[in-house]
Amino acid sequence: MGIHVSTKINGDDVEFVCDAEETLLDVLRDRLNLTGAKEGCATGDCGACSVTIDGRLTCSCLTLGAEVEGREIGTVEGVAKGNELHPIQQKILDNAALQCGVCTPGIVVAAKALLEKKPDPSEEEIRYWMAGNLCRCTGYDKIIRAIQDAAAEMRG
């Protein structure tokens, strides 16, 4: 029997019905067609499915769809304001900080959460915060630089 869930995604009210076993990632991708979050592992080891729940960064693969009743979800689709990119998105482009781009949605969500919590992180703090976001293409160098640049720009 399906479970009815009312929630808010990227500021909009959303209702869906899901099975008890379904993860939030399954719901986002298969029921709501929000395919920005990716399934890289389904075990919380890669970060490609990163979202925020009530502002806190988490893996949507480690959350049941049923759990988000009344919560506020933030996904990569909500990071840009219309066609205006968030600084972290722009700096990822400017720094060539993506190659294949499949980890990028998770990187964007995680980096944004970091900069909201800590506007001036050290390189080491960035690296440890981002350790749960696997990137196999870049070796992380340009991603770290993009986050540093975005932090600097956001601090003004």
């Binding site: 389904a42 480690l62 049941l64 049923a66 350790a131």
Partner: protein, 286 residues
């Protein structure tokens, strides 16, 4: 499978008691959901504790802290009072998985999943953490080292769940620390770990200590010999060597994909020594 999110602990206990099949408590879910996805576990009922009042709270109690059963590691680490009192416990909790995982994972879940390598458990054991268990026969308080029995097995009875963890007031001149070894810098399961609490008198002599080691046996072990190696000393090199030897001797690890018996026995001693130095500095207020 059914999903229930009761709003009282009594309702949670009734649901867990009444289920004829496999009932699992969901606090953070970072172990449970993985086990379900990998087909290692097929629960008939999941009881989500996050909607029970108090389960998400950290409150002061008798000079210590009571941490609700659904408080995620990230929140514990944002609590200034708790991290000031028990930095070692907080650091242990902060080592569980990624930032994302810490947004969900709870110490209670880490404890009740009963994995021998649980990072938040050894230091919590070392500082004397007590679990409050709610069940069909009411509530009881149990030292947390008595809960895990073997990988995936706890001493909890049918219908019972851990409602909160109580960290007693820290005695004066006491410091705690936790260190673990992993092959990378993040994201791994501990290959060996050691949590330690040290109390000094005014002369700097160790008057009390508790040492717990992880990932080197079927459950987290309290090593009395290791504590005895420190008590009555100034925690000098000789005492630290004795501590390391006691931890290595007490370890009963296995060889697996994460490490060998020899490696784990040796490294748990190295970690004990290094953790003791940190705990010592903290006890001295450095």
């Amino acid at each position: 499978m059914r999903y229930e999110a009761p709003t009282t602990v009594e309702a949670a206990v009734s649901l867990l008691s009444a289920e004829a099949g496999l009932a699992k408590v969901l606090s953070g879910g970072t172990d449970l959901l993985v086990q379900m996805r990998m087909g290692m576990m097929e629960p008939d009922l999941i009881v989500d504790t996050k909607r029970i009042p108090g389960f998400g709270d950290i409150v002061e109690e008798n000079g210590g802290y009571r941490v609700g059963g659904a408080v995620p590691s990230a929140e514990l680490n944002e609590h200034a009072g708790f991290t000031a009192m028990y930095p070692g416990v907080a650091e242990g909790a902060d080592l569980i998985g990624s930032t994302q995982v810490q947004g969900r994972a709870t110490i209670t879940g880490n404890l009740c999943n009963a994995g021998p390598a649980a990072d938040s458990v050894p230091c919590a054991v070392a500082v004397g953490c007590v679990a409050r268990i709610a069940g069909p026969n009411g509530k009881r308080d149990v030292a947390i080292e008595d809960i895990p029995q073997a990988p995936g097995k706890t001493s909890l009875e049918k219908g019972e769940l851990v409602e909160s963890l109580f960290f007693p007031a820290k005695p004066a001149n006491t410091g705690d620390a936790y260190l673990r070894f992993i092959p990378r810098t993040e994201m791994d399961i501990a290959v060996a770990g050691c949590g330690i609490s040290i109390t000094l008198d005014d002369t700097g002599t160790c008057t009390a200590a508790k040492v717990a080691i992880g990932a080197v046996a079927i459950k987290v072990l309290v090593v009395d010999e290791a504590a005895q190696a420190l008590i009555g000393t100034k925690v000098d090199e000789a005492a630290l060597d004795a501590l390391a030897s006691a931890c290595s001797a007490a370890a009963k690890p296995i060889t697996d994909k994460r490490g060998t018996v020899e490696f784990r026995k040796e490294v748990v001693g190295v970690l004990a020594k290094r953790a003791a130095k940190i705990a010592l500095d903290r006890a001295k207020g450095a």
